[in-house]
Symmetry: D2
Amino acid sequence: MDIVDFTPDSEQLTWTFGGAAEVRRVRPGTQLRLWTEDAFCGRLRSTADLASASLSMPFVNPQTGPFYVEGAEPGDTLALHFVELTPARSWGASATIPFFGGLTSTDRTATLQDPLPERTWIYEVDTDRQTVGFQAQGSDLEVALPIEPMLGTVGLAPAAGEVRSSLVPDYFGGNMDTPEMKPGTTCYLRVNVEGALFSVGDGHYRQGEGESCGTAVEGAMNVVMVVALVKTPGPAWPRLETDDHLAVVGSSRPLEDAWRAGQVDMVGWLSELYGLDKLDAYQLLSQISEVPLANVVDANYSVVTKVPKRLLPRVSVYGGIHAHLRGTAR
Amino acid sequence: MDIVDFTPDSEQLTWTFGGAAEVRRVRPGTQLRLWTEDAFCGRLRSTADLASASLSMPFVNPQTGPFYVEGAEPGDTLALHFVELTPARSWGASATIPFFGGLTSTDRTATLQDPLPERTWIYEVDTDRQTVGFQAQGSDLEVALPIEPMLGTVGLAPAAGEVRSSLVPDYFGGNMDTPEMKPGTTCYLRVNVEGALFSVGDGHYRQGEGESCGTAVEGAMNVVMVVALVKTPGPAWPRLETDDHLAVVGSSRPLEDAWRAGQVDMVGWLSELYGLDKLDAYQLLSQISEVPLANVVDANYSVVTKVPKRLLPRVSVYGGIHAHLRGTAR
Amino acid sequence: MDIVDFTPDSEQLTWTFGGAAEVRRVRPGTQLRLWTEDAFCGRLRSTADLASASLSMPFVNPQTGPFYVEGAEPGDTLALHFVELTPARSWGASATIPFFGGLTSTDRTATLQDPLPERTWIYEVDTDRQTVGFQAQGSDLEVALPIEPMLGTVGLAPAAGEVRSSLVPDYFGGNMDTPEMKPGTTCYLRVNVEGALFSVGDGHYRQGEGESCGTAVEGAMNVVMVVALVKTPGPAWPRLETDDHLAVVGSSRPLEDAWRAGQVDMVGWLSELYGLDKLDAYQLLSQISEVPLANVVDANYSVVTKVPKRLLPRVSVYGGIHAHLRGTAR
Amino acid sequence: MDIVDFTPDSEQLTWTFGGAAEVRRVRPGTQLRLWTEDAFCGRLRSTADLASASLSMPFVNPQTGPFYVEGAEPGDTLALHFVELTPARSWGASATIPFFGGLTSTDRTATLQDPLPERTWIYEVDTDRQTVGFQAQGSDLEVALPIEPMLGTVGLAPAAGEVRSSLVPDYFGGNMDTPEMKPGTTCYLRVNVEGALFSVGDGHYRQGEGESCGTAVEGAMNVVMVVALVKTPGPAWPRLETDDHLAVVGSSRPLEDAWRAGQVDMVGWLSELYGLDKLDAYQLLSQISEVPLANVVDANYSVVTKVPKRLLPRVSVYGGIHAHLRGTAR
């Protein structure tokens, strides 16, 4: 197995999907050992570092990549398997940012009200207990929360010559901000350009479903992942596989459209896997869906449609690549 | 403990929240042993019974109730604790209905396309294995799915003199269609009229999150529940408590508004319980929310915001009524 | 022609569609001369009268009616023709109300921000110039705006035994808040219950499209209207006819669903009137629609789809009832 | 006055905002005489030319440009004044396209229904009468509709290094599809990159508000326009000025967010122009807004907020550039 280590310096960070030259060329089967900067570029280091003063728009949510995958052609399925995600700093940060987040008006859900106050929270990492510490600022409450590392952003170059900000989730992946993007998950994406040109970033030490205030416990991350390529037609929307679930991530606005897009793709997937007609697949999905929100704060909102494998007959998915990668990873 | 048994005959079924005379008056602390008809009024009994021919609109989703709670006054908190939900028939039914459901156009999300074909599925109950059987109609797949009984509809009379169809979920509860409304759950609702006038119905032997096709495994249900009254101000939106979670159910359109309403109520709840200011509560919620969809098919869509108790310090909720009712039920 | 005069006293005002006993029984062809109270119940009389202190929820937007129309049966088309709308006071009022309106968060589009400040504006009526006077409060600007009287609320009893607040617009009409409901307009509504039980209210001396802040120049109104009954199937959504336009008012959330519902109804209407198949009607509508917003602030949002008669061959609509009523009114 | 003539050959057409090299450099004050290809690339020439067979995705909606404006710097206001729009072919075309349009499910508002049938309509231009001819295909109706030429797409390079498809409307303009973009209109856009890099295209011989089926009467267009630069901060959203109106075009999803964004920008604009505080501007806007839909079919939906100049005191807008350009054009 090829192993590639890559830690970008500050000038190698990228801010878009598409529009950037590859940092490395890798062969399918390569294990990548990457470092990702946090969404705040590491600039929120104390509760005195407020977002609007510390951040330099649009330079947020930096990505590590893009990686050019040898042999990847438009229409193929890129499979990215995440083996390990490990906090790369001793603290994570979260913040309220003016007119950004789910429970405030924004530039789109625009109102005439004043913004919420800015505040930054620093979460100390307790490596032994594997927790991050929430500390209230208006009172004394402290709560130790389990570290559940995930990547907010996994994506590749869009189609149609577009270049999209790393803040956007869409059919090409991107800033989906789903807690399902965790160690043990394989993410399937349709390749839009030669070489796929994928990137990853936006490590979260933990995140609630919906990412209510717009930011998780953001932190630099060490990422171990394996890249694979499946020469069958890629999915319309990002698909995920774990040992326990199949999932699709739809991203759009309003939120019901994100859900609809992912659900229709899952109906198609179940139809393919089990030889069901679309009405039967729709019916079955209606009784077994698990549907956690991913984010209701980004340029598109993201919803995950999950199907538990334990409820269904065993079947081969993408040629069994997930099980293969799991085995390799072990 | 008072015990009241009630099985409505077909003329006692009700079709609205508000606008119906009480079927019984009960004292707080009463245990109710109820029978609820299914949402199809038991008319879908074979795959040949298609919805549009078998159902007689608007007579769907019949409710058992309303019950007048002695002493309940506007503003109070009604607590309904569900002890047991047991299938009352040997089969459940699900169906596609023209222009109803989440993956079809509807009278609101109106398009010029033809409706999806109608189809009815019958799920046989296997009492020993505690499963219901999915049988594909366009192919041979059969899948036994665990029974996970829940009530789609729990609500009380609205404010402002309104009378709402039992198909509607809103601030008064109603047709929320969340799998969280299961045995072991306590539902808190704000009382809008003297006596509260609550009803229950719409038993589901199981349902996926979102209730994609618009109907779950619908079945008549035997319901054992306990009614309690808390003389503190009731919540803006239905709240749920289990041994493991606190939850709020928001219902509106578009789906993000259902989410926002529930989230803001949960921020308020966490603030009250833990003495947090709203920014700290917002931050904490952002890292611990579990947000499963309830329905994306009804007159309003419903989203559940859950908070796991295990992550938070122990605290008394509504005077500990949930634990008390759990104890009583045991 | 029968003529019925009716000015409700304060105890005769109604607050819902459905759920109220008729104030008068009228025969089709009757001319009604009515007085309607303003949406604030006349309680905002100076800039010192702020909404939250002056109004007594849910007693806002009072209606004059309901009227029982002899012979009206479910499914029929009720035609309400507005002959004259004349301000019945020398001033109108508008106000910001906490968490109500289009450019603020609300109970549904809920955020954690503080509400906008409350403010009340009084518009003096200048009968000679037929204007109302806007006076800025934070500066000196004064602007005289033409009086363009309209009724915000025209509706009838809903189906399915529901009773809806007069604040709600939906398929039964109600609080549509469209400037198209002006003198010279005929409004067609499908009858849901015997006698139709229609009401009118919520006079506006003028209103912008969308009713941004949630309130127009609200004022008591003298209304002259004629009631007619057409024994053909009523429309799915409220339809309007003037000398110049046909229109449909769709009401739902999100706003695109309000638009879709009205557009699909208009496609059907054009198909019937001109013998077009639905694709041709869709195409024609795509090139001739005029689509002003009505409101983006009420319990449902309302959008008007208009078609200019001048672009289309002359055709008889509902048996020519509009022209007949126009003639009668003259 | 500099005059630049430019007719792109097929290889000079561009398909994105951003990401393309300029075709010409022009000085502020230049008059451009351009030819724009239609959105179908001229490939729909008869009713037998159906969209899915004739079009080659993503090569639709070609733009003429981009033009580099000398001296334009990020933050400036680019003013584009349209003097004449003249059909450049003797026919226009419109079509239904599978899963595209407002009254069908789409890739986002995804359902399991079959698509609507494809159909293409050809509109012959009658130069003498200045009409285009609608011909029904399922029946005999023919209707001559007035030519009302407009440009569907006017935009410039986005910020943050993004490259967007010419099908997208957003803060940078783009595919807004509003009938307000007609001769006599000045469009103000905030410059995001050096030289502004604006393009125009997507001529419509006429279009209904909302562009229901997704396509207008699409036709190649001869465009006469003047480019100006104002060295004051550009607007957050595209602004329009005619002799009669000020307008803002908001674009987002859901449709109410498009409206909110445009309305908030207009509140700000009125505040600046008339020295109003935001509450007074909100109130005034509430009574005078005209709000026609632009499109409910594109990647974002677009809504226009218009204010009639006749209702307001005369005031200088962007230094009177509109009146100046109007004068120059005459």
